[in-house]
């Protein structure tokens, strides 16, 4: 059973306590200047974005089929069975393919560091594994960020939409996007206005499938192509061998006929 976060932007009051709790949980600095930064970075793993009187929380979506985990050459990212997509800094070589591949552009980099890490929300994996809520869900005063089983949260989100159809857009962002995510978003306005990619742009196909279609052919391609290349080599050189042998034969025949004439 996969855990998830449900963020309901209509309840959010923009108090930014989730940001603060997140910083504390991840041993990151937090002050007024950082609070004013409305974007995620290596030192701010979640951010509340304000547009007029509307708030929106941004964080790693913890995809069911994460692009970052599939592209990492050393497997530094992996999805735990509880839901969080976690990062093993020891394995990381710093190629930043995860950052380029993520459809939500969530992994961020410590550009100023000499031994840089990729940073993103890792959904408090230790707390989740211990059966606790994430730090942000625990501290949220209004319940805008709610932690629970993904299936339960989906049902609850659907109920909320059904009960207040005028408050919500009839859509749970993250339900099907890129094959489903473990962060689900309810909103009264379009999430695209807050930097989230449009659903129709990222689609419902799990990201790893785009490369998987090519990668799964490689085990077949290698022996077949080797055979073809080896075959070409054999044929093209065989032709020479045959030509050389024939020339030799001809030369011998000539010698013979010359000999008899003499």
């Amino acid at each position: 059973m996969s855990k998830a976060l449900l963020y309901d932007s209509t309840i959010c009051i923009g108090c930014k306590q989730c940001e603060q709790a997140c910083a504390r949980q991840n041993n990151l600095p937090y002050d007024d200047t950082i609070a004013a930064e409305e974007k995620e970075s290596a030192h701010k793993l979640t951010a509340i974005v304000t547009r007029g009187d509307k708030f929106m929380r941004r964080l790693c979506m913890h995809c069911e089929h994460p692009a970052c985990a599939s592209v990492c050459p050393v497997g530094a990212f992996h999805k735990t069975k509880e839901g969080p997509v976690v990062y093993d800094v020891w394995k990381c070589i710093g190629c930043r393919y995860c950052m380029a591949a993520c459809p939500f552009s969530q992994p961020k980099y410590e550009w100023g560091s000499l031994n840089p890490r990729v940073r993103k929300c890792i959904m408090c994996p230790d707390r989740v594994a211990a059966g606790k809520q994430t730090a942000c869900a625990e501290i949220c005063p209004t319940g805008a960020t709610k932690f629970g089983d993904r299936d339960d949260l989906i049902r609850e989100a659907q109920d909320r939409i059904r009960q207040n159809p005028s408050t919500y857009l009839n859509r749970i962002y993250g339900l099907h996007e890129v094959g489903g995510t473990c962060v689900l978003i309810l909103a009264g306005v379009k999430v695209e206005g807050f930097g989230y990619p449009a659903s129709e742009k990222i689609g419902d196909t799990p990201m790893p499938e785009y490369t998987g279609r090519v990668m799964e052919r490689i085990p077949d391609f290698i022996p077949v192509w080797s055979l073809v290349l080896g075959g070409i080599y054999w044929i093209s050189h065989r032709r020479n061998e045959v030509a050389a042998a024939e020339a030799l034969q001809e030369a011998r025949n000539k010698d013979k006929t010359n000999g008899t004439v003499r």
Binding site: V71, P73, V74, G75, G94, Y97, W111, G203, R213
Partner: protein, 393 residues
């Protein structure tokens, strides 16, 4: 020994000085200080040029080795060694470039123990590593010949068929996979360049560039080192290049047509300008030039067409890796001068090593004989073998 400071030596030294300065910044202040890369542009000029273009420009070896040894095409032997040298240096320098771009280059060996077979990057890494080893063994006989070590050469020659097949297999895999790297970014890369056929384009352009690069480097080294140009070889390469360009152009057209892009690519827009530049340089101009027999049969025409086509495909790779992301990100990315200077330094080192190798190793042995013969008195020609030894000096 007197060292004369010529113009090009001064340029080389200046490039090296700036490059070393940037290298110090890179390893003392980090990637953020040396480059204009950021969270929105995690891949910059070093990936776009050093990696994507570098590997493409080193494709000459597998094209020429494939033609000469796999298909047994006669008469191209004289360009095999320069092509193998270029590729070997190219791949070594690509790895050097990677050490600049990777955030934690000292862990590059993790690739060998923490393997993720689903990752295209993993596949590229393994292929590049193995192929560099193959190139080393294709290059080694040249060094052994220089020191007259015949026994190891015969050993290597026994494995030659395996090396050749392996080299072409690995090249097919990683040249196309560089395109597959971008398959996972359908929502980020501009539709002009995002296509499910990216791996085919990258492989096709590598073949065309391999041929163009061989024409370029043969002409260039004939100028720089005073070798006689074998026009017949260049003309055949030019013919093959024309065919390769047509195949590439038709593939691209087919792809635009299939994805319903034809109407959009003719409409002026920021991306369209770069696409037009790319298509003009890589297809329209070189194909038009090479279609004229007069140009296809002249060394200057072939050289010019090849260089234009090289610039075209370099534009293509930069479009795929940089320009194609600007609309998604919402701002432009321009490399910082320190990024350029590191790349320039790597290229300069490549040219220098090529020059050193040509000077001390039998890279162009046959042409030297051709060159020397008319200038020598007839008695010397009859001696045969001493000429070869002298030619090596």
């Amino acid at each position: 020994m007197k060292i004369k400071l010529t113009f090009w030596k001064a340029v080389f030294l200046a490039i090296m000085a700036l490059g070393i300065y940037s290298t110090i910044i890179r390893y003392s202040k980090g990637l953020g200080a040396v480059s204009n890369m950021n969270d929105q542009f995690p891949w910059g000029f070093w990936i776009g040029f050093d990696c994507l273009c570098g590997v493409m420009l080193a494709a000459g070896a597998f094209c020429i080795v494939g033609a000469v040894y796999l298909f047994n095409v006669e008469g191209l032997h004289s360009v095999v060694r320069p092509a193998v040298l270029t590729a070997f240096l190219g791949y070594l320098l690509f790895i050097v470039g990677l050490l600049f771009d990777l955030g934690r280059p000292w862990f590059i060996w993790h690739q060998l123990i923490y393997m993720n077979p689903h990752s295209v990057m993993f596949e590229v890494g393994m292929c590049v590593m193995t192929y560099t080893t193959v190139l080393f063994f294709e290059f080694l006989p040249i060094v052994l010949e220089r020191f007259n070590l015949k026994t190891p050469i015969t050993w290597i020659h026994k494995f030659y068929p395996v090396l050749i097949v392996l080299g072409i297999l690995l090249s097919t895999l990683h040249q196309s996979s560089l395109g597959s790297l971008y398959l996972i970014m359908p929502s980020k890369l501009h539709p002009f360049w995002y296509s499910p056929a990216l791996p085919f384009f990258f492989f096709g352009s590598a073949v065309a560039v391999g041929l163009a690069m061989t024409i370029f480097e043969s002409t260039q080294s004939s100028k720089a080192f005073g070798r006689q140009l074998e026009l017949s070889v260049l003309v055949r390469l030019g013919g093959a290049l024309l065919v390769a360009l047509w195949v590439n152009a038709l593939l691209r057209f087919e792809d635009f047509f299939h994805r319903g892009m034809l109407r959009q690519i003719v409409k002026p827009s920021y991306e369209a300008y770069f696409l037009w530049l790319e298509l003009a340089l890589s297809f329209v101009i070189p194909i038009t030039m090479l279609s004229f027999k007069r140009i296809r049969l002249s060394p200057k025409g072939l050289y010019l067409a090849s260089v234009i086509c090289l610039f075209g495909f370099i534009t293509n790779r930069l479009n795929v890796s940089l320009i194609g992301f600007e609309t998604y990100v919402g701002h432009h990315y321009l490399p910082r001068w320190t990024e350029f200077s590191v790349t320039l330094m790597i290229i300069a080192v490549g040219f220098a090593l090529f020059g050193v190798a040509v000077k001390y190793l039998p890279i162009f042995p046959k042409e030297e004989l051709v060159n020397e013969r008319p200038t020598l008195p007839e008695t010397a020609v009859s001696m045969g073998s001493p000429i070869l030894e002298h030619a090596g000096d």
